[in-house]
C-alpha cells in the first residue's frame, strides 16, 4: 500500500473537473482509488468533504490575507533581531510591521510575501500544539504591530517547526494584492494506491482515472513532437553511450544531456506543488526530477556529466546497466559505503558503479551547486530486483516505491523529454538534441480478446456494449470489433502502454469496465447454482460439543497465542524441537507451541492477580516439527502427513484453581474454603465422558513428570489412552508462578477423544417400576481400587442391579489397619415388575458372597 497526495490544482492541469470535491472523492473511492484523507489549504471546507480534526487548518480570509510586496526594511530601534518591513498589498496601501524572520533583512525590498492583517485567524507559530489564533493589534518592543508576514506553519501548509524559521518568499511575479486563497489555496486529496493501481502513483495516472469516470478529455503535457528543440544543433549522439547488460533487469534506459544549467531555486509554483504533494523543494534540478516523477510516475536521476567525463578520462562516458560484481563498493548520496553483490542492479560507467539502480544515486556523480552539465537518466528496471535491493539496504524512497511496483518502459521517453524541457525553462539549460535511448527488446503491444457475453455471465447482468466500449476507450484501450456471432460480440482490445497490471486478459478488462460502470449498478441476486453435496464437518461439530459440555461444567473458554517460547513449556514437556520463526516480532513469541496446557496455565496465572476462581479450558492446536518423535501420526486437520510441513494436533487443556463453593454474603464465615481437589476435576472428566457416551472408560494412575505422582490419572477408553489429568506437580506449579496453590490440570488429545466417541447410542428405557435401595459396606484391603469393587458388585448384581453409588469411604480404628471401608447404595429394579423382597435379598446375598470370595472382603454389620 502506498499513498499519493494530489493537489487538485495540479490535477486540473491534465483534466477539467466539474464534479464537486465530495463527489469526486466518492467516485474515486468507489472506482478503486480510496481517498484516505483530504486537506484543505486556506479554503473553506467544501460541502460533504470530511477533514480529520488533526488536519484542519485556517481559512485564509480573502479580505485580510494577501500577496504583498516589501517596499523597504528598517531596523527596529529597540531590538537587534527585529526588523520593520514596509509592505504594500495593492495601490494606495502601505503598512509598516514588525518581524523577526531571519530571511528578511534590513534594507531588503521587492520581495513578494504573504501579508495577514489583524483579524486573520492563523496557526500560532509559537505554540507547541496546532492552535488557531486571531491576529490582534499589539506592540512589539514598543512599536505597534497590527499585521504580519507569514510562514508555512502559520498558514497551515506545513506541520514542521522547521518551516517556521522563515517567512514565505513568493516568486517575483506573484500578483500583489491578490487574496492568498485565490493565489495558492488548494484541496489536497490523499489516495491509497493498491498494487494493481501503481500507475496512479502519478498525477497523470490519477487524471486518467478521473477522465474515465467523468468522461472529460485528458490533456497530457507537451506532446513530444512540440519538443524538438531546433535552437540547439548540439546532438547527444557521440557524447554518451548506454549499454544494458541484461534486458530482463532493465528493459529500457534513456539518457538526455542538458548543458549549461544553473542550479538555483525552482519556480515558486513548482515548489508549492511539491510541497503540497508532500515533497520538500531542494533546487531546480532535483525539484524538476521529482516534479516529473510525480507527474508521470517515472523516477529520474540526474548525474553531473562533467564528473562522468572526467571518470572516463576525458572521453564520452559509457553508462552500463548491470548487476554489481561481487565485492564492488559504492558510496551513495547519504555518504554510506554500500557493499554490493550480484543481487543488486547498478548503473556503472567503465570505471565502476555510479548509482544503485532505481534506489539511490552515488555521491561522486551527484549534482551540486557547481554542476554545469547534466546527464539525465530515465529508465525502466525489473521491479523484483529493485525490491531486493532497497530492502537489502533498507532504503525505501519515492523512487524505489514506484520502481518496485513496476513502471511501463513506454513512460521512459515522455518523462525524459518533459524533464529536459523543464530544465531548459527553469534551469537555463540547453538540451542536446535527441536521447540515447537503449530499448533492446521493445515490449510488444498487449492484445486481449474480449467476449462481452463472458463478461455478462461473470457479472450476472448485462452491461450495454456501447457503454462497456466507451469505458474501455476512456481508459485508453483501443477497441476493435472482430466477431459478432450468435449475438455475442468479441472485441480485439489493445492495452494502453501505461498498463502493466493487465495480465490475465479478459478478467482484467471486466474489472476495469465494471468498476467505472459502477458497482452500485450490480443487481442483487441469490445463488441459482444447485446446492453442492452436503457434508458435515465432524471434527468441528465434535469440538463444539466438547466446548458446550465444559461450559456447562462451569469452565470459561480461552483462546491463547499459538506462538510462545520454549522456556514457557519446558516445565511440562522438557526440551524439544520447535517450529521456529525466522522473523519473530517479540522475544516472547518465537516458536509454535507444543503444549496447549502451558498456554492455559499462563493465562490462569495472569488472571489470578485479580480473581481467585479460575476455571479455564482451551481447545487448540499444538504444532510439531516434521519428523519430531513427539509428533502424532497424522495431522488433525488434513488427516494426512504432509511431506515437510509440521504436524498440527488438536488438544484440549483445562486448568482449575479455585475454592469449593462460591463466595456469598449469607454464608457463615470460613464455611468451606477447601481448594478444589482431584475429584472435582475428575467430575468434569466424567461429565464429559458421560455426555459423549464413552464406553469402557478406565482411570489409571498416571506416571508423568509434570503431575503429582499420587494425584493424577490417565483416562483410557477401551484400550486407548485419551489424556491425563490431576494435580499439577508442586514444583511445576511453582515454575508457572502459581505458588502453593492446588492446581488441577488436564490435557486430552481431541482426535483420540473423537475417535473413541460412539457415533450413535441407544437410549435406556426409563424405569416404570420403583427401585429398592439396599446399602452395603465393604471392608477390603487398602490396595484394592474402587473400580474393581464396583466391577465385582456389578458382575454379581446382574440385570436386577440398576445403580451403584459410593456414599462413604472410611479408614480408621473401627476397622483393621491396612483396610478401608466403602459403603455403597445399591438400587435394584426390574423393567417389568416391582421386585419382591425375596428376589432382592437373593441378589444382595449374591453380591455379598462374591465380594467375600473374590476380594476377601468383610461385609460390615455381618462379621
Amino acid at each position: 500500500m502506498n499513498r499519493m497526495r494530489i493537489p487538485l490544482s495540479w490535477l486540473r492541469d491534465y483534466i477539467d473537473i466539474s464534479l464537486p470535491p465530495a463527489q469526486l472523492i466518492e467516485r474515486l473511492t468507489l472506482a478503486g482509488l480510496e481517498v484516505a484523507s483530504t486537506r484543505v489549504l486556506g479554503l473553506p471546507v467544501p460541502e460533504g468533504v470530511r477533514v480529520k480534526a488533526e488536519e484542519r487548518g485556517p481559512v485564509w480570509d480573502r479580505d485580510k490575507i494577501f500577496v504583498a510586496q516589501v517596499l523597504g526594511t528598517e531596523k527596529h530601534p529597540n531590538a537587534d533581531k527585529l526588523k520593520l518591513p514596509t509592505v504594500t498589498w495593492g495601490p494606495g496601501t502601505e503598512k509598516q510591521l514588525v518581524t523577526g524572520a531571519p530571511n528578511i533583512n534590513v534594507g531588503d525590498k521587492g520581495q513578494k510575501v504573504v501579508l495577514a492583517l489583524s483579524g486573520s485567524v492563523l496557526f500560532d507559530g509559537h505554540s507547541e500544539e496546532r492552535k488557531l489564533a486571531e491576529l490582534k493589534p499589539t506592540k512589539i518592543r514598543g512599536l505597534p504591530s497590527d499585521a504580519m508576514v507569514c510562514s508555512l506553519l502559520e498558514l497551515g501548509i506545513s506541520d514542521s517547526k522547521e518551516d517556521h524559521t522563515g517567512i514565505i518568499i513568493l516568486e517575483d511575479d506573484a500578483p500583489v494584492g491578490t487574496p492568498l486563497a485565490d493565489f495558492m489555496g488548494d484541496i489536497v486529496i490523499e489516495v491509497d494506491v493498491l498494487p494493481n493501481m501503481a500507475r496512479c502513483l502519478s498525477m497523470i495516472g490519477v487524471a486518467r482515472e478521473v477522465a474515465a469516470i467523468t468522461g472529460q478529455q485528458l490533456r497530457l503535457p507537451l506532446a513530444s513532437r512540440e519538443r524538438h528543440l531546433p535552437d540547439n544543433p548540439d546532438p547527444i549522439a557521440g557524447q554518451v553511450s548506454v549499454q544494458i547488460e541484461d534486458s530482463k533487469l532493465s528493459a529500457r534506459y534513456a539518457a538526455a544531456l542538458i548543458k549549461n544549467i544553473t542550479v538555483g531555486p525552482a519556480p515558486g509554483w513548482m515548489q508549492r506543488r511539491l510541497l503540497y504533494a508532500g515533497m520538500r523543494p531542494i533546487n531546480n534540478i532535483v525539484d524538476i526530477t521529482n516534479f516529473v516523477m510525480l507527474e508521470w510516475g517515472q523516477p529520474l536521476h540526474a548525474f553531473d556529466y562533467d564528473v562522468l567525463v572526467q571518470r572516463a578520462g576525458g572521453k564520452a562516458p559509457t553508462i552500463i546497466v548491470r548487476p554489481a560484481r561481487e565485492g564492488e563498493v559504492l558510496v551513495t548520496l547519504d555518504k554510506q559505503e554500500r557493499k554490493l553483490s550480484a543481487e543488486h542492479l547498478v548503473i556503472a560507467d567503465t570505471k565502476g558503479p555510479i548509482a544503485l539502480a532505481g534506489v539511490m544515486g552515488g555521491l561522486e556523480t551527484e549534482v551540486t551547486e557547481k554542476t554545469k552539465n547534466i546527464l539525465l537518466e530515465s529508465a525502466s528496471f525489473d521491479f523484483v530486483s529493485i525490491r531486493k535491493t532497497f530492502r537489502h539496504f533498507d532504503l525505501p524512497s519515492e523512487a524505489s516505491a514506484r520502481f518496485s511496483r513496476g513502471i511501463h518502459p513506454e513512460t521512459v521517453k515522455p518523462a525524459a523529454e518533459r524533464a529536459s524541457d523543464l530544465m531548459r525553462q527553469y534551469a537555463g539549460g540547453s538540451v542536446c538534441q535527441g536521447l540515447v535511448d537503449c530499448y533492446p527488446v521493445p515490449r510488444p503491444a498487449q492484445v486481449v480478446d474480449l467476449d462481452l457475453g463472458q463478461m455478462d455471465r461473470l457479472l450476472g447482468f448485462k452491461i450495454d456494449p456501447v457503454e462497456a466500449i466507451r469505458i474501455l476507450r476512456a481508459l485508453e484501450y483501443e477497441v476493435e470489433l472482430v466477431a459478432n456471432a450468435s449475438g455475442s460480440s468479441t472485441y480485439k482490445v489493445t492495452v494502453p502502454t501505461h498498463r502493466l497490471d493487465v495480465q490475465e486478459g479478459p478478467a482484467d478488462l471486466v474489472e476495469d469496465i465494471v468498476r467505472i460502470y459502477g458497482y452500485d449498478r450490480v443487481p442483487t441476486t441469490l445463488l441459482a447454482e444447485p446446492l453442492p453435496k452436503q457434508q458435515a464437518n465432524e471434527p468441528i461439530q465434535f469440538e463444539e460439543r466438547v466446548r458446550d459440555v465444559l461450559v456447562d461444567c462451569g469452565l470459561q473458554e480461552v483462546i491463547c497465542y499459538a506462538l510462545t517460547v520454549p522456556a514457557k513449556e519446558t516445565p511440562l514437556v522438557g526440551n524439544r524441537d520447535y517450529v521456529t520463526l525466522k522473523n519473530p516480532v517479540s522475544s516472547e513469541r518465537v516458536v509454535m507451541r507444543q503444549s496447549v496446557l502451558a498456554s492455559v496455565l499462563e493465562i490462569a496465572e495472569s488472571n489470578l492477580h485479580n480473581a481467585d476462581d479460575v476455571r479455564l479450558f482451551e481447545i487448540g492446536i499444538a504444532y510439531f516439527s516434521h519428523g519430531s518423535p513427539h509428533a502424532p501420526r497424522e495431522d488433525s486437520v488434513t488427516r494426512a502427513v504432509a511431506p515437510t510441513l509440521p504436524c498440527e494436533q488438536r488438544r484440549l487443556a483445562m486448568v482449575m484453581i479455585a475454592n469449593r463453593g462460591q463466595e456469598f454474603w449469607n454464608d457463615a464465615g470460613a464455611k468451606d474454603k477447601q481448594p478444589l481437589d482431584f475429584f472435582e476435576l475428575k467430575g468434569v472428566i466424567e461429565a464429559l465422558a458421560d455426555d459423549l457416551h464413552l464406553k469402557n472408560t478406565k482411570y489409571q494412575p498416571a506416571n508423568l513428570a509434570h503431575l503429582h505422582p499420587g494425584k493424577s490419572a490417565t483416562l483410557i477408553v477401551g484400550d486407548r489412552p485419551v489424556g491425563d489429568f490431576g494435580v499439577l506437580h508442586p514444583k511445576v506449579a511453582q515454575a508457572y508462578g502459581l505458588g502453593e496453590r492446588t492446581v488441577l490440570v488436564a490435557e486430552l488429545d481431541v482426535d483420540a477423544l473423537q475417535a473413541v466417541t460412539p457415533i450413535r447410542f441407544s437410549y435406556t428405557p426409563v424405569a416404570r417400576f420403583p427401585a429398592a435401595l439396599r446399602d452395603i459396606a465393604v471392608v477390603v484391603d487398602e490396595a484394592i481400587p474402587a473400580d474393581q469393587i464396583e466391577a465385582e458388585i456389578r458382575k454379581a448384581g446382574g440385570d436386577l442391579l440398576s445403580g451403584v453409588r459410593l456414599f462413604d469411604l472410611y479408614r480408621g480404628n473401627q476397622i483393621p489397619p491396612g483396610t478401608k471401608s466403602l459403603a455403597y447404595a445399591l438400587s435394584y429394579q426390574a423393567p417389568d415388575r416391582t421386585l419382591a423382597d425375596k428376589e432382592i435379598d437373593k441378589a444382595h446375598k449374591k453380591i455379598e458372597d462374591r465380594l467375600k470370595n473374590v476380594l476377601k472382603a468383610t461385609i460390615r454389620g455381618k462379621e
Binding site: G32, L194, L458, L527, E529, N537, Q556, T644
Partner: protein
C-alpha cells in the same frame, strides 16, 4: 329458654372478643369441649319438660350450629390474619445480591464464529478447515502471487526456519485445498481459522487473528450472486435494514476485486466515529475468483466461475461492542471474557 338465649348471647360475645387462635381454642374448649357448656346445654334436655323438649332441642341445635359456624369462620379469619402478619413481619431486603451461580462461557471469538457459521450454514455453506503452518506455495504462489510479487506487501509474513514454510497470513490457502479436493464438483464453503501476520502487537494490530473466508464455485456463479449473498449475511448479522456497497479494490486472487461496506446503523452512538462520517463501514474484501486460481484448483475458467470473500470476526466484534483494544481477545482476561 332464657337460659339458652343467655348462653348464645354470652358465647357470641366471648367469641367476638377472641383476638387470636389460642383464645379461640380456649373458647371452643369452654363451650364445645367434653365438659363444655354447649354440650352441657344439649345434655340438659333430659331435665326439660316433655312438651318443651322438642322446641328446646331444636333451639339448642340451632345455637350449636350457629356458634360452630361462627367459630370456624372466626378461626379462619384469625389464621389468615396471623399468616398474613407472619409473612409481612420480616420482609427480605430484595436488593441484596443473589447467590452467585458458577458459570462457564464460550470465548467471545467462538460465540461470534458460531453466529457467522450459522448464518452461512442456512445458505448451504459447509465449513472447511485447513492447516495453519503452510507452504509459501499454498499461501501465495497458487493464489496468483509469485515470489516478489508486489501484492505480497499486503501481507506481512512470519517465516519459519524451514525454507518455504510460513504461518498462513490468511485462510485463502484453504481455497486451493478445497478446490483440489472437490474438483470438478461445485463448492459452497466457508473457511474459518486462525491467521498470523508479522506485525507489532498494539491496540489496533495483532500477530494472530481469525478470519472467515467464503468460496463458491459453480457453472453459473455471478457477481450479482456475491452481492446477494453478502447482503443476506449483513442483514442477518447487523439488522434487516442494512444495505451494502461494493467498492473497487485489489486482491491478487480475485478479479474483479471489491471491498464491501455496510451502512452502519445510525442509532449506534459510535456510528460517526466508526464510519468517519461517511455512514459506511468496511466489513470484508471479496471478488470473483481469479482465473489463475481457478486453474490452480483444477477448474476450467471457461466453464466455471466463482466468488470468494473474507472477513475478520475480531474486527466485527470490536465494531459491535466498541472494543478499543484488539489485544483483549488473546489476553483472555476474565474481566473481559465474562462480559460476553
Amino acid at each position: 329458654m332464657s337460659d339458652l338465649a343467655a348462653l348464645e348471647q354470652r358465647a357470641s360475645a366471648e367469641l367476638a372478643a377472641c383476638a387470636d387462635e389460642a383464645a379461640l381454642r380456649a373458647w371452643n374448649t369452654r363451650y364445645f369441649g367434653n365438659n363444655g357448656e354447649m354440650l352441657a346445654a344439649l345434655k340438659a334436655i333430659g331435665g326439660i319438660p316433655k312438651e318443651e323438649r322438642k322446641t328446646y332441642g331444636q333451639e339448642a341445635n340451632r345455637i350449636k350450629e350457629a356458634l360452630t359456624n361462627a367459630y370456624e369462620q372466626k378461626l379462619a379469619e384469625v389464621k389468615e390474619r396471623a399468616l398474613s402478619a407472619s409473612l409481612t413481619s420480616n420482609p427480605l431486603d430484595v436488593t441484596l445480591p443473589g447467590r452467585p451461580v458458577p458459570r462457564g462461557r464460550l470465548h467471545v471469538a467462538t460465540q461470534v464464529m458460531r453466529q457467522i457459521t450459522a448464518v452461512f450454514a442456512d445458505m448451504g455453506f459447509q465449513v472447511y478447515r485447513s492447516r495453519e503452518v503452510e507452504s509459501d506455495e499454498m499461501n501465495f504462489e497458487l493464489l496468483n502471487m509469485p515470489p516478489h510479487h508486489p501484492a505480497r506487501d499486503m501481507w506481512d509474513t512470519f517465516h519459519t526456519t524451514i525454507p518455504g514454510v510460513i504461518l498462513r497470513t490468511h485462510t485463502s490457502p484453504g481455497q486451493i485445498h478445497v478446490m483440489r479436493e472437490q474438483c470438478p464438483n461445485p463448492i459452497r464453503v466457508i473457511l474459518p481459522g486462525m491467521c498470523y501476520r508479522y506485525e507489532a502487537i498494539t491496540t489496533r494490530s495483532e500477530i494472530q487473528f481469525q478470519q472467515v473466508e467464503g468460496l463458491v464455485i459453480g457453472e453459473r456463479v455471478t457477481m450479482a450472486d456475491l452481492k446477494g449473498t453478502i447482503t443476506a449475511f449483513a442483514r442477518r448479522l447487523f439488522g434487516q435494514e442494512r444495505h451494502i456497497r461494493f467498492r473497487s479494490s485489489y486482491f491478487p486472487f480475485t478479479e474483479p476485486s471489491i471491498e464491501v461496506d455496510i451502512d452502519w446503523p445510525k442509532d449506534d452512538p459510535n456510528a460517526d466515529r466508526l464510519t468517519k462520517g461517511t455512514g459506511w463501514l468496511e466489513i470484508m474484501g471479496a471478488g470473483m475468483v481469479h482465473p489463475v486460481v481457478l486453474r490452480n484448483g483444477g477448474y476450467d475458467p471457461a466453464k466455471f466461475t466463482g466468488f470468494a470473500f473474507g472477513m475478520g470476526p475480531q474486527r466485527i466484534t470490536m465494531l459491535k461492542h466498541a472494543i478499543d483494544d484488539i489485544r483483549q481477545f488473546w489476553g483472555n482476561d476474565l474481566r473481559f471474557l465474562r462480559q460476553f
